[in-house]
Amino acid sequence: MRKTVKRESEAPGGSGGKREADEEPERLRSVKKEKQRKAGAGFVRPDEPPPTQEEEQGISDRRILRSKYLSLQNEINDSKDDLMKIDSDKFSRIINEVENLHKQVRKPREQIADAEALLDIANTVMSSVKSQSAHGVSPAEFVNALVSGFGQGSLGIDTDETAQVSLKWKDLGFAVCSTVLVSCGCSTMLGPMDTELKQRKRAANRKRTKPGEGVRPDEVDDSQSEEKTDTDKNMAIMFTILGKKRRVRLENLVLNRRSFAQTVENLFALSFLAKDGRVEIIVDKSGSHFALPRNGPDAILVMSGEVIYNHFVFRLDFKDWKLMSEMVPLGQELMPHRETAVASSSCPAASADFTQDTQTTPIRKLSRNRGLVVQEETVVEEETVVEDTPDTNGDETRRRCKRKLT
């Protein structure tokens, strides 16, 4: 049963490719018919499964069979060139060998080898037929002619292998020289006519300096790092205000009507005061927050663990600030407004009165309206800082600041 199925699948591929050649299909068809007859014979005994026979075909037998198939494949490969010669019986030998091996095939693995051998031989014959029908000469014959015409004798010393031949390429090239096979061109000087030969640069020796005394840079006065940060200053201001007023509403303490940014900074400073324990935030019955000053705890208390940190979250965003500014009556803000050194570039650089509470770094900004604007002093107009806040960029940065509080 298996045999018939396999042969049928093989046949269309085999005969399909042979439409050009005349002799080939007949040979293959005859082979195929033989096999079908045998399969038919095999078909007669369906009820007598020969299990003993199959079991007997052991692994070693199958290996031998496969190796025979392999050697057959190699033989097909090697005899590619002489397969179609009229006086060569190689083809019939190979086909007979395939047939013999096929009789011994029982298992699928060998079936594959069998099918491959048939495929190989079919391909070989087909390619040689193709070339024959085109020109009547196979490439192998042509090469033979070339070698005999232009060969130069053996180079190799081994006598076992086929003699190494090298062609006399120059003579061959001369014999077949034709204008179409040679690529021509002007092998003249390629380049502009006035190129001058570049003189080699004389290698200049670096002057060797003897190692002398080392350089001793000035020590930078490091007292600047000890200056108080802005936050510290704000904390100090806030604490003094608290000290004066004693009990204040949180909104009044923190809000800066003109700047959302500064409101957040105030809240930041307040949070540090709360962390240090110097301010107390309470909520009264009506829900309003109050801030009260107090002394920070002693170091001993902190060390002993009686005093510990607690966290709470104060959320403040832009809308809250707007609400806050509505709630707090005008003039009730307690923290002073801090003038900053940043000037927006869209405003003309009109110098107004400036208050500096921090050391300003000179800022060179390119003004879009005029040329290079050098600002070495704080230049602020009242309106500019307010403009700073409503733009969305300001929001982002403030929001980032806010997160530090939690």
Binding site: V165, V182, C186
Partner: protein, 238 residues
């Protein structure tokens, strides 16, 4: 003469400008062809020389035609046009619209117009003959194999003539593989990957330069000559 008036009337540029363009194109062709050892020159490169400074349509074609005439008159070279017809069996090339493929893929080679004896006597020199021989042999093999040959088979034949695929120090050709690559670059051969049941095999088939009737006829002539010689030698031995 009608030719001289044409540039002015057609393209609105003076004769001197056309001459200048033509000479630039000729110069480019001559040096590029030699420099690239026979690789065909793309039409795009030539038209670029013209369209860099001028916008008129068809000016490029006119300039190239003029250049062709001049090359033939002055240098004895025939500027052959090759059409890169990539008609692969998979039919993949059919994806390109016809107009686009015809415009983009023209290339030019220079072929000497000298009669054969003169060519042989004065132009051919020893350093290039081996390459000629190699070109001929490979083309002949591929042609005899039906126009298409798998890579292994080609090297199998070359091995019989003393050229091994892995040999990088051949006294005549240097790197054998590279020499074959040169043929591909010169558009005598083209590579084609075919995925078969056993995996991918590389096929060499004749490219546009070799499919030109001039070339294929010559190759056939030489093949028959060699076979005749061989037969004659055999007969003499007998």
């Amino acid at each position: 003469m009608a030719d001289e008036e044409d540039p002015l009337s057609q393209f609105d540029i003076s004769k001197e400008e056309t001459d200048k363009l033509v000479s630039e194109v000729i110069r480019f062709i001559l040096f590029k062809f030699h420099q690239s050892s026979g690789t065909p020159i793309k039409r795009e490169d030539l038209t670029q020389i013209v369209t860099k400074n001028y916008r008129q349509r068809n000016l490029a074609t006119h300039v190239i035609n003029e250049a062709k005439k001049k090359l033939s008159n002055v240098f004895g070279y025939d500027l052959k046009e090759l059409q890169r017809a990539r008609a692969s069996s998979n039919g993949q090339s059919s994806r390109l619209p016809l107009s686009q493929s015809s415009v983009d893929s023209k290339s030019y080679v220079l072929v000497s117009e000298l009669p054969l004896e003169v060519f042989r006597k004065h132009v051919v020199d020893e350093t290039t003959s081996p390459m000629t021989g190699f070109t001929f042999v490979v083309l002949a093999i591929v042609q005899l194999a039906g126009g298409k040959i798998p890579e292994e088979t080609l090297w199998h034949h070359l091995k019989r003539m003393g050229l091994h695929e892995s040999d990088e120090h051949n006294p005549v050709f240097g790197n054998n593989k590279q020499t074959l690559e040169t043929l591909v670059q010169q558009r005598y051969l083209q590579k084609e990957k075919v995925s078969g049941p056993e995996g991918n095999t590389l096929f060499y088939d004749l490219a546009e330069r070799a499919l030109d009737p001039q070339v294929s006829e010559k190759v056939k002539d030489y093949i028959s000559q060699i076979l005749k010689n061989d037969v004659a030698v055999v007969e003499l031995d007998d």
